[in-house]
């Protein structure tokens, strides 16, 4: 019977027909993506015409994996992403819980929370770069005022990662806090009142009520922050272009430097494609976990 009442083709094709303009844009984006995979298996260099026709198979990938900088690049990509996400999650959760109180200060501050994350990341980074600057900067005078020595910030290999992380944390903690605050405000008050009447401690309520109910929101925040910091380009590029030396050469910065700046297009692509694969797998996994957490939080 099911088969007999199958709607006519015109009706079945309608959603595809409605989405057709977007599908055309999709093709326009997927086509270069496929070219990227092809180019990555050639000897293509922009300054050597004709090199695009030399097919080299997986040689560029082998070269990447055996390059002496590859391990370090992997380390710095993940160190940046995991530290940024972890610190922003912790600090953002604290800020969200502090804002979710009946406090005048919280009411005044909440609307300004978006400022650091809504201005262009490059601009925000340049402002921090100015603050860290030895001649006009303000951070070293501030350190000196409390008796601490001056830092070279992003100019020194020891403090470069710390400096860019500081900017990332400044810029994106508000995003974490805003999403988690929306989560906290969506909670029903009954279980919390019950816990209070029963004399439950803060930690007990936090561990057994707040965190489980917040978990779908936390996963959403991790999806955005982890994916964006794995592929972070703007902050690192505006701060040091990956330097000093190769201190901040993540996958993204390596791909940019090799393919665009050095014009060895095919050699940089494996870094971008590897990063794409890592991000794709991680985000699929996290989005599945989000679906589960949502169902669990809803009590199914």
């Amino acid at each position: 019977m099911e088969e007999n009442i199958r709607p006519p083709f015109a009706v079945r094709a309608r959603p595809w027909f409605i989405a057709l303009p977007a599908l055309l844009v999709l093709i326009g984006i997927l086509y270069p993506f496929l070219t990227a995979i092809y180019y990555s298996m050639t000897a293509y260099a922009l300054n050597r015409p004709g090199s695009v026709d030399t097919f080299v198979g997986l040689r560029n990938y082998v070269r990447m994996f055996t390059s002496e900088d590859f391990l370090y690049s992997t380390y710095i990509t993940f160190a940046y992403a995991l530290l940024a996400t972890g610190i922003e999650l912790t600090l953002g959760l604290i800020v969200a819980m502090l804002l979710n109180r009946d406090s005048r200060l919280a009411k005044i501050f909440t609307p300004t929370l978006i400022f650091p994350m809504i201005i262009p990341p490059v601009i925000g980074t340049l402002v921090w770069k100015m603050m860290m600057q030895p001649s006009v900067g303000i951070l070293n005078p501030m350190l000196n005022a409390v008796g601490l020595p001056s830092l070279q910030w992003a100019a020194a290999p020891e403090t470069a990662l710390f400096s860019v992380l500081l900017v990332d944390i400044w810029m994106f903690t508000p995003f974490v806090a805003l999403i988690l605050l929306a989560g906290l405000r969506s909670f029903p008050s009954a279980p919390f009142e019950a816990a209070r009447v029963d004399g439950a401690s803060f930690w007990f309520t936090f561990r057994n009520l707040t965190l489980p109910m917040l978990s779908p929101f936390i996963i959403i925040v991790v999806v955005f922050r982890l994916m964006d910091s794995l592929k972070m380009f703007d902050i690192i590029f505006a701060m040091t272009e990956g330097g000093p030396g190769n201190t901040l050469m993540t996958y993204q910065l390596t791909a940019y430097r090799t393919s665009i700046q050095f014009q060895r297009l095919a050699q940089g692509l494996p870094y971008a494609i590897l990063l794409y694969i890592i991000i794709y797998i991680t985000s699929m996994y996290l989005i599945k976990a989000w679906g589960r957490a949502q169902r669990r939080a809803a009590g199914y």
Partner: protein, 287 residues
């Protein structure tokens, strides 16, 4: 009881104290940016907070530097960069609206095979490392004559604006009860009339907010115009680097340009505050 009350007061004071410290951290750089933009070249190096404010930096970047010595770049091109940002960001949002609103409707209202895969493919634009697409595009654009053109940048900005609009709008469309449409369908209205005259007006506030947020993200973008644009389409974000990467660093000019490039963002964000959470989370958090 007495000690419990004072404990609560202590907790409130500590909480407000931490919050205050956090907001100094969050807002001080922006305040400092405004301060530096008001400093003259001399006071830039000699003072921190006490100085005679001047608008000469704004004057210089907007109308040209009257005191520029020969050989020094008088960076009065800021209005052009600003217009470029305006053109490519608005263009990208308009194109995304034209193709994205119908797609969001199809994804919200129809059940068809491959629907979730299609939705995730659009979402994956948002998370994909941009260089995977723009390295090959840098070749393709030169072949097609799209390099350093508005159309080229508007096209590649779809990676930023389209997933946002499709996902946020889909969640708004899903919020509207299908009963309304079914009633109209029984009355004999064709699907496109129902979409245009019934559904669209219902989601208009969300639609406007999503479009403005897409504009903000397009405006903030840096890497696309850096790789695929040259001097013709240079945006404010790409040009901002120019103030301090040249031999002589114009910190105060750069601060003034930063302020002017940030004001539209802050105004837009404040105007769509109610819809911001849903927009920022791509419809996942209904805020």
């Amino acid at each position: 009881m007495q000690s419990k009350v004072s404990n609560n007061r202590l907790a409130a004071i500590l909480s407000d104290g931490f919050l205050g410290l956090y907001f100094i951290f969050a807002l001080f750089p922006l305040l400092w940016m405004v301060l530096v933009s008001l400093k003259s070249g001399e006071e830039l190096f000699t003072t921190q907070f006490v100085f005679t404010p001047t608008l000469e930096n704004y004057q210089a970047i907007l109308f040209g530097d009257p005191r520029a010595a020969a050989g020094v770049v008088a960076r009065q091109e800021f209005p052009r960069f600003f217009m470029n940002s305006l053109i490519v960001s608005s263009g990208a949002v308009i194109l995304s609206l034209l193709v994205g609103v119908p797609a969001a409707y199809a994804l919200a209202r129809y059940r068809f095979r491959g629907k979730e895969d299609l939705a995730f493919t659009f979402l994956s634009f948002r998370f994909a490392p941009e260089l995977v697409v723009i390295i090959p595009l840098s070749v393709l654009y030169r072949q097609l004559g799209l390099y350093d053109t508005y159309w080229g940048i508007i096209w590649v900005y779809q990676l930023v604006t389209l997933p946002l609009l499709i996902w946020v709008l889909r969640s708004y469309f899903e919020d509207v009860s299908p009963d309304i449409e079914q009633a109209a369908m029984i009355d004999g209205y064709p699907w496109w009339r129902i979409f245009w005259s019934i559904l669209l007006p219902l989601v208009r506030p969300g639609l406007a907010a999503a479009a403005l947020l897409a504009f903000v993200f397009a405006w903030n973008n840096f890497i696309f115009a850096l790789v695929l644009g040259g001097s013709n389409v240079q945006t404010v974000t790409v040009s901002a680097l120019g103030y301090i990467s040249s031999a002589q660093a114009f910190f105060n000019r750069m601060a003034a340009a930063s302020v002017l490039a940030s004001i539209p963002q802050i105004v837009l964000a404040l105007s769509i505050q109610r819809y911001l959470i849903r927009g920022l989370s791509f419809g996942a958090v209904k805020g």
